[in-house]
């Protein structure tokens, strides 16, 4: 049940009325929201509900034992156990077969034949996001940012809340749990802004991302040997726009849907392709993942507190694990390693005398932007390629022209331009449009929403690509 489907549309309109009709009975409302979230998750595979419930149970029980009244060593042991259980579930479902494959490859290269078999387990939807939410809760309790919740419903709802369940944004426990304490007020949110956010998300996904994926990017990455050098190069930039349009669309719809239900989610994107430097890029791209990795991995590893070498090690480790979080594949590890190395270089450069002297000039900023944007696009190649072999084949195709004719569809440049436009429009535009809509009456809001939806449906291709982050 993904967002731009009739299934989700029906589910959402029913949820909206049900949730607001129970707003003054907060406990009952939370139970209903939990039931809706479990039904949402079960729509993929009801068996994985057990996984969701196990993750919630671990968080709830561990949270209770992390109470500040216990001694520190005891709390540390409980925290380690909770994190190990959460990561153990993730490792089993997501990484075990990858690990076994590496062991078997190594063993075979040494002439050994160990009796190890693949577990061949189906990857549950949203397991990575689910794990990060669970860890966020127990670490926040351990650090004293939250008092342990005595309500299992609150914890299960935090982990399974359907707008963020499948592909984020990663909502931290201390951001979400306090919102469950009282009935919500619709007046805390701009209806116009959230309607605009959802419609904009639908346009980005159904028009920009779907056309780019179906008409150009997917065929090129499936068999790069059939395409010209020009097509291959454009496909990399087209994918950069596609992944932004796809993922930011999901996030925008999630934020808008949550707000219409009365809950606030953090922002996840801030025009990332405007970034000046790779550090800046990670402050603008998948911001909730960056913040999670910073607070729960980079800083506990030591952050930048122990000298340049240790900082470099911590940045590399964080980005390698961040890469691996996206999937059990060498391509993601290489993608993470490239971003880690770039972050180390960026960290050193920003503290160098050269940057202090020249870094704020127009030319330096232009060079900064150019290098950052093209580097990020190049790394997307590894992120998108199905295997390392496919990535090297793609690069070889760019290096040595095979003489194939250019086949890029005419729709691609306007779509790339449209994606680029989303990086230029002032960030405040959304709030201004939202406020303008709020100041108009209901008929004007209906007319605006209907015309936007009509245009999206007219323009949307008949084929649709799945959300990219759905697989993580």
């Amino acid at each position: 049940m993904l967002f731009p489907t009739i299934d989700f549309g029906l589910f959402f309109v029913l949820s909206l009325a049900l949730v607001w009709s129970l707003n003054n009975q907060n406990n009952l409302k939370k139970v209903v929201l939990l039931g809706l979230s479990l039904a949402f998750y079960a729509s993929w595979n009801w068996r994985f509900l057990l996984l969701l419930l196990a993750s919630g149970a671990i968080s709830f029980i561990v949270g209770l034992y992390l109470d500040a009244k216990h001694v520190r060593r005891y709390r540390e042991a409980v925290l380690a156990l909770g994190v190990a259980l959460d990561l153990g579930i993730l490792a089993y479902f997501k990484y075990l077969d990858f690990f076994i494959a590496q062991v078997l490859t190594l063993a075979h290269s040494l002439g050994l034949n160990p009796p190890i078999a693949f577990v061949n387990v189906t990857l549950p939807v949203a397991i990575s996001f689910l794990t990060f939410h669970a860890i966020s809760y127990i670490v926040d309790v351990y650090r004293g940012r939250l008092t342990p919740s005595r309500s299992p419903v609150d914890i299960f709802l935090y982990i399974s809340f359907f707008p963020h369940l499948v592909a984020g944004p990663i909502v931290r426990a201390h951001e979400f749990l306090p919102q469950l304490a009282s009935p919500r007020r619709a007046g805390d949110f701009s209806f116009g802004e959230n309607m605009f956010l959802i419609l904009g998300g639908l346009f980005k996904k159904m028009v920009i991302a779907n056309y780019l994926a179906v008409r150009f990017v997917d065929p090129v990455f499936t068999d790069p040997s059939q395409f010209s050098r020009f097509d291959l190069i454009v496909a990399v930039y087209a994918y950069a726009i596609e992944i932004y349009a796809d993922f930011s669309a999901y996030t925008d719809i999630a934020i808008g849907v949550a707000a219409l239900l009365g809950y606030r989610f953090p922002e996840n994107f801030n025009q990332p392709y405007r970034a000046l430097g790779i550090g800046d890029f990670w402050r603008r791209w998948h911001m909730t993942l960056s913040a999670w990795l910073r607070d729960y991995l980079y800083i506990p590893l030591g952050g930048n507190r122990h000298g340049a070498l240790m900082t470099a090690r911590n940045l590399m480790l964080t980005m390698l694990l961040g890469g691996l979080w996206h999937g059990a594949n060498w391509t993601f590890l290489i993608w993470g390693a490239m971003h880690g190395a770039a972050l180390v270089a960026d960290h050193w450069y920003r503290r160098s005398a050269a940057f202090l002297r020249y870094g704020s000039g127009g030319l330096a900023r232009a060079i900064d932007w150019t290098l950052t944007f093209h580097f990020v696009c190049f790394t997307w190649l590894f992120f998108r390629a199905p295997s390392l072999d496919a990535a090297t084949q793609f690069i070889a195709g760019v290096w040595s022209d095979n003489g194939a004719a250019n086949t890029m569809p005419a729709i691609v440049p306007p779509l790339i331009a449209c994606g680029a436009l989303t990086q230029i429009i002032p960030y405040r535009a959304r709030a201004v449009i939202g406020a303008t809509l709020d100041n108009r009456g209901t008929p004007a809001q209906i007319a605006f929403g209907f015309v936007c939806l009509y245009v999206i449906i007219v323009m949307a291709p008949s084929a649709s690509a799945p959300f990219i982050y759905f697989q993580f």
């Binding site: 007046g187 209806f191 219409l260 209907f450 449906i457």
Partner: protein, 85 residues
């Protein structure tokens, strides 16, 4: 929080707005809803909503709204060359 105008402070007004937008979209493009209900109507449990959706489909066709949507979709698909793929 800044004061919001009345149109955004009432959740039910927002819900009505959303329902109205979706109802208009279903009237403009009734085919999707009919197909969806048809697909999910294995044991006949959606017979009533399916009959309603078919009624909306017929009404939309009768006043020409459905035809305009279909023609515009086809026109746009032709412009971007979707029919060639």
């Amino acid at each position: 929080m800044p004061d919001r105008p009345a149109s955004s402070t009432n959740a039910w007004r927002g819900i009505f707005t959303i329902y109205a937008i979706l109802a208009l979209a279903v009237f403009a493009f009734p085919g999707g809803m009919v197909d969806w209900l048809d697909e999910h109507n294995d044991s006949g449990w959606l017979a009533a909503p399916l009959a309603l959706a078919r009624g909306i489909d017929a009404a939309s066709s009768a006043v020409g709204v459905k035809g305009i949507g279909v023609a515009l979709r086809k026109r746009f698909a032709d412009i971007v060359g979707e029919g060639d793929s």
